[in-house]
């Protein structure tokens, strides 16, 4: 039988393979064949998600004609991309920069308020002893189901009465109290704070405040990660309410500005005369798409660090 030398000892080939296989299983948790199948499936799905993004990032380098004539994933030219960037920044006296700043300011402020409101509320719904807990959960759920177009006119009238329409607070306040985050937080605390953990804390002498401050809040690290990327994305891409509650061009958010710019110039349609006159074509529209994606991507990468492994690991010893 063929033999190999491993760590200074003669071993049969089969023994070496079996040893390698055991090491692999111990390290990764699944066999090598299953690992390869796993990687294949995940990579195929990644191609479905990634190729359109690659197309988006390459589109600003190509003219309308090149987008049709060249291969879909071919690179155009850096000069064209730079020209597209200049045309975009020159559009309407640099309004795109204003829109970007507006989005960062509105969404950043709404996120801070949302986290401060949502985490305690979700904790209370999952853990605290409060009357009307189920009613609040049902109300939250019903609100999640209510179509935005049903709320737009009442919301407009209410904010108009408060003198807040066509201002940053018209978007910041409703976004800060959106129900989706509270429901997710309720689900999170329901899962990560079992009865045993709470009983153990109370036996150790924790009152309700200490339970929240010393256990509930530290456990919220993963939750903050989840809320940050999911709510940030939803708020950043909010179109309908943002389009209705704010109508001044300098106060618009970036996604609304993109929508207005693309529909106003007809940039998506080829050889559109308005598009040619304004200098905004498909390359510029794609570049706007890239600019819109980048902040969400950065926030996502940052929030991934907060999705730590097993926040309650070691908290309970059976």
């Amino acid at each position: 039988m063929q033999s190999v030398r491993v760590a200074g000892q003669e071993r049969s080939l089969m023994a070496s393979i079996r040893s390698w296989y055991r090491e692999w299983r111990r390290g990764s948790g699944i066999g090598p064949v299953a690992y390869v199948i796993r990687v294949l499936i995940l990579v195929i799905v990644a191609i479905f998600f990634g190729v359109p993004l690659i197309w988006l990032f390459l589109a600003p380098t190509k003219s309308n004609a090149q987008l049709i004539e060249l291969q879909p994933l071919a690179f155009g030219s850096l000069e064209y991309a730079y020209g597209a960037f200049q045309r975009l920044m020159a559009y309407n006296n640099g309004i795109v920069k204003r829109w970007f700043f507006n989005s960062v300011w509105y969404v950043g402020t709404a996120m801070v308020i949302n986290l401060a409101v949502t985490v305690p509320a979700g904790y209370a719904l999952a853990i605290a002893d409060i009357k009307g807990r189920k009613a609040l959960l049902w109300a939250t759920l019903i609100l999640m189901m209510t179509p935005v177009n049903a709320l737009v006119l009442p919301m407009f009238m209410e904010l108009h009465t408060l003198g807040l329409t066509n201002s940053a607070w018209a978007l910041i306040l409703p976004s800060s109290f959106a129900p989706f985050g509270v429901y997710l937080t309720f689900v999170y605390y329901k899962t990560v704070m079992p009865r045993d953990l709470i009983d153990a804390a109370k036996v150790d002498g924790c009152n309700e405040w200490q339970l929240f401050w010393n256990i509930g809040l530290p456990l919220a690290a993963s939750l903050v990660g989840m809320l940050t990327f999911s709510r940030f994305r939803a708020m950043w891409n909010n179109f309908f309410m943002a389009n209705t509650l704010i109508w001044s061009d300098p106060l618009r958010t970036l996604p609304v500005g993109v929508g207005v710019l693309i529909s106003g110039t007809g940039a998506i349609l080829p050889d559109n005369p308005w598009s040619q006159r304004s200098g905004i074509r498909r390359a510029e529209a794609a570049l706007l798409g890239v600019i819109t994606v980048l902040p969400v991507a950065l926030v996502f990468l940052f929030s991934q660090r907060l999705l730590v492994r097993s926040a309650t690991s070691g908290a309970l010893k059976e």
Binding site: A124, A128, E158, T191, F212
Partner: protein, 315 residues
């Protein structure tokens, strides 16, 4: 902590006849800001919309509660209503199971083993959700043109040679399902992955010691432990799918000639149309009410069957 303070925490009187100390329940303090905001920016406008559904609108001005049920009759007997309802229900029937199954499957697959690939994959899956609506349409206009799309080799064997061959009245619902999966699955995968990371390491190790292989661990241990999140996704996806409006509106504006998507393809489009063209907010409010009722019925079924609101600590 002393025994007395523990006793006061549990609300027990320490001696008969002594006045109970007033104790502020922390839960009410924590829930207060959200409750106020929810009433102001959620419940209030919703109730207002409900009043609108029973109101007349003349010259754009509401005459509150003067319409009785006439708005409901007008909206639900409109010739566009049933086709819009059918379109939305067929979209929901496809997108919810595909979305939920796809996201859960991919999250479990990623979590099966720890490697650097996971972080890269999560980012790739998530980024499409960051693309705003009108740019998403630009992407798909190119992706669904068999002659210029990088996926053209998948479409040309079907005899499709132009975008109009791919996006037809018969296939448009599948196009919307594809766009919805592309733009939303990544966020859910990231949430499920975060939930899987939050599972107790001891439970997973105990299952492996008991002999679970990776598949058994994923299906019989991890999946039930994240079921609360899966139900949350089910309810949210059902709700959001019922309200589809961005994809059909943008595809309609970006396709040439005889568009396969009418301005009334979905219920939300019909409602927006009635609102903006007819100036009758009451009509659009009745359609919104129907959507809320349908979603609520589905949610009630799911929540009551699964005891969803019960926690380890509270009933």
């Amino acid at each position: 902590m002393t025994a007395n303070s523990v006793a006061s925490t549990s609300g027990v009187q320490t001696a008969a006849g002594q006045r109970k100390k007033f104790k502020l329940n922390l839960g009410y303090i924590l829930i207060l800001p959200y409750t106020v905001g929810m009433l102001l920016f959620g419940v209030g406008p919703s109730l207002y919309a409900l009043v609108f559904s029973f109101s007349k609108f003349e010259g754009g001005k509401p005459q509150y509660l003067r319409a009785g049920f006439s708005n409901f009759v007008t909206a639900y007997t409109d010739y566009r209503f049933i086709p819009a309802l059918k379109n939305v229900l067929s979209f929901v029937a496809l997108t919810v199971p595909i979305g939920v199954f796809g996201a859960v499957f991919l999250a479990l697959l990623m979590h099966a083993t720890r490697d650097r690939l996971n972080k890269f994959l999560r980012t790739i899956y998530f980024l499409p959700g960051a693309v705003t609506g009108s740019v998403l349409v630009l992407i798909f206009i190119f992706l669904l043109d068999p002659m210029i799309s990088p996926f053209g080799f998948l479409m040309r064997p079907f005899g499709w040679e132009a975008q109009q061959d791919v996006i037809t009245r018969r296939t448009v619902v599948y196009v919307f399902v594809l766009i919805r999966f592309f733009s939303s699955a990544g966020g859910w995968i990231a949430i499920f992955y975060g939930a899987l990371n939050g599972l107790s390491k001891e439970i997973l190790e105990a299952a492996q010691i008991d002999g679970c292989n990776a598949w058994q661990l994923a299906w019989y241990v991890k999946r039930p432990l994240i079921s609360s999140y899966v139900i949350y996704m089910l309810i949210t996806m059902f709700t959001q799918s019922m309200q589809i409006v961005v994809e059909p509106s943008l595809i309609a504006s970006a396709t040439y000639g005889d568009s396969p998507v009418t301005p009334y393809w979905s219920l939300n489009q019909l409602a927006s149309n009635l609102q903006t063209l007819g100036g009758n907010f009451g009509l659009s409010a009745t359609i919104a009410l129907l959507q809320v009722v349908m979603c609520a019925v589905a949610a009630i079924l799911v929540i009551t069957k699964t005891d969803y609101y019960k926690t380890d600590v509270r009933n």
